[in-house]
């Protein structure tokens, strides 16, 4: 297949399906040839998914995980966007805060688990706090960069038309930075979905993360473990596709690829 040639429409479907089939085949025969009794085969996982769907608890777990992500990610957005915009707008303030941020940012939210439990106890709030932390820093950083990367020609034009500083921020700087902010939000949502699963394994007794750990602990049901993992993957993909739709809004789309 020539990499420059436009793939035919059947090829666009055929090759990804072939790759997935190959992976499933490797998985299936690995399980058979090693004759393992612990790790499930694809067929067992498929039965596991069906079993989970028939149990009422799966939907509750999905709703619990999504609720925590919505609250944690939402709070990170509500706090992070204004903070990031302000820091981008006042470089002096950013210079003060930036070193602290750069030290806190690379700390995995997982490392915060003990601290979160001290603050909030074992429970809902600790999990949400961890998601908040995971989402907060990418959002702030994206906003700071977004604001400082606004071309000076836009600011000058805004000032020229007599805009007060607050209007300049609302009508010029924010819309000009928005594509970069959206990229930060998308990154943060991905991290939030990673963190919720980890947080649910330790802090709470509901949600998809809990489902994974609970399936293992109560009878080593690895078919259900892998089934839950796949469900986590599919929902993560759906969240990403959902937030990517923001990039197609016309007043934002210019910042992505073939605009000017």
């Amino acid at each position: 297949m020539n990499s420059l040639a436009e793939p035919k429409s059947w090829e666009k479907v055929f090759w990804p399906v072939a790759a997935a089939t190959l992976l499933l085949a490797v998985w299936h025969y690995s399980v058979r040839w090693t004759a393992t009794s612990i790790f499930p085969s694809p067929l067992q996982v498929e039965k596991g998914i069906v079993e989970l769907f028939h149990k009422h608890v799966l939907w509750q777990d999905i709703v619990s995980s999504l609720r925590r992500v919505v609250i944690g990610f939402g709070a990170a957005t509500v706090v992070g966007v204004p903070l990031g915009l302000s820091l981008g707008w006042y470089p002096a303030a950013n210079q003060v805060v930036n070193p602290v941020m750069q030290i806190l940012r690379p700390i995995s939210p997982i490392a915060w688990i003990p601290v979160a439990i001290i603050f909030f106890g074992v429970g809902e709030y600790a999990a949400i706090f961890l998601i908040f932390l995971g989402a907060f820093f990418p959002i702030v950083v994206a906003c700071v960069n977004g604001v400082s990367n606004v071309p000076s020609v836009y600011r000058r034009a805004g000032r020229n038309f007599g805009l007060a500083p607050s209007q300049l921020l609302a009508k010029v700087v924010f819309p000009a930075a928005l594509p970069q902010i959206i990229v930060g939000l998308r990154l943060a949502l991905g991290i939030a979905w990673l963190v919720v699963v980890a947080a649910e394994m330790v802090a709470v007794d509901s949600g998809l993360g809990y489902l994974v750990i609970d399936s293992r602990n109560s009878g080593k049901r690895y078919d259900l473990v892998v089934a839950a993992m796949l469900i986590i993957g599919v929902i993560g993909l759906a969240l990403d596709l959902g937030i990517r739709r923001l990039e197609t809004i016309k007043s934002i789309r210019w910042g992505f690829g073939n605009g000017s």
């Binding site: 000058r156 034009a157 020229n160 819309p175 007043s251 210019w254 605009g259 000017s260």
Partner: protein
């Protein structure tokens, strides 16, 4: 000093729309100071079209930014209508290269950008008028990324004209356009200038462009820029760009800048 001179020749000061008085500009970076503009004195009268030309990097844009109040001069003052310029002002609008249009707003949104003080109906009327003037009918809802370079440039001119400024500052506005589009845009700009009669200060490095457009061409020297010569373009519009007088004036300017006639 500037004030005294205005006082000495009140009539001249009154006649001039724009009065640049012994303007100097020194940029300081890393402890090194670079003089950019040297003692520029220039008067532009109401409704006049003046082009600033000079070798690239000489400080033409710096001079325009100082005139427009986006940069504070190191020495000297700029007066407009006998009032010292202290900052940007919506009565005097800059037009940059077409990258100055806001990509997150539609054509209508861009033109309406400076009209936030008007009522809705006045704003709509103004927008429709300028959409028509720059020939963007049918593109009202389009975003800049859907427009060609020439259309974006016309959009930026429309956005500037919509606030009804008395002056326009154009900073190499057609520099990024191809030569055919640039040619058309010059014609459009002249047509608009003849109907609206704004005072225009136009920075360009294209000498033909200057001679085709301007009433007077101000030739700046290499950095630090000083005014080398001011050339009156005494040809009426529409200008025949192969007439002997046109060629004479153009060649005179080329010679002044120190460019040979032959390539």
């Amino acid at each position: 000093m500037a004030l005294r001179e205005v006082a000495l020749s009140p009539q001249r000061a009154l006649a001039a729309k724009l009065c640049v008085n012994h303007l100097s500009m020194v940029f300081t970076r890393d402890g090194k100071s670079t003089p950019v503009l040297q003692d520029i004195t220039l008067e532009v009268s109401e409704g006049e079209f003046v082009c600033l030309v000079g070798p690239s990097g000489c400080g033409k844009s710096t001079l325009l930014n100082a005139i427009g109040g986006l940069l504070a001069p190191t020495a000297g003052t700029v007066f407009i209508d006998n009032e010292a310029v202290r900052g940007p002002d919506p009565r005097r609008i800059f037009v940059f290269q077409e990258r100055g249009v806001f990509p997150w707003l539609t054509v209508e949104g861009n033109i309406a950008f400076g009209l936030f003080k008007l009522s809705r109906s006045e704003r709509e009327e103004r927008v429709a008028h300028y959409v028509k003037m720059v020939g963007l009918q049918g593109f009202e809802e389009a975003y800049p990324s859907e427009l060609s370079g020439g259309m974006k440039q016309r959009l930026e001119v429309a956005r500037a004209l919509a606030v009804n400024p008395d002056m326009l500052y154009l900073d190499e506005p057609f520099g990024a356009l191809d030569s055919i589009t640039r040619h058309i845009m010059r014609g459009e700009l002249l047509r608009i200038w003849e109907t609206e009669r704004k005072t225009i200060v136009f920075v360009t490095h294209d000498i033909d462009e200057a001679v085709q457009l301007a009433d007077r061409v101000v030739i700046l020297s290499a950095r630090p820029a000083a005014i080398q010569r001011i050339v009156n373009i005494d040809i009426s519009h529409p200008r025949d760009i192969s007439s002997p007088r046109y060629l004479e004036l153009r060649d005179g300017i080329l010679q002044q800048i120190g460019l040979a006639h032959k390539i």
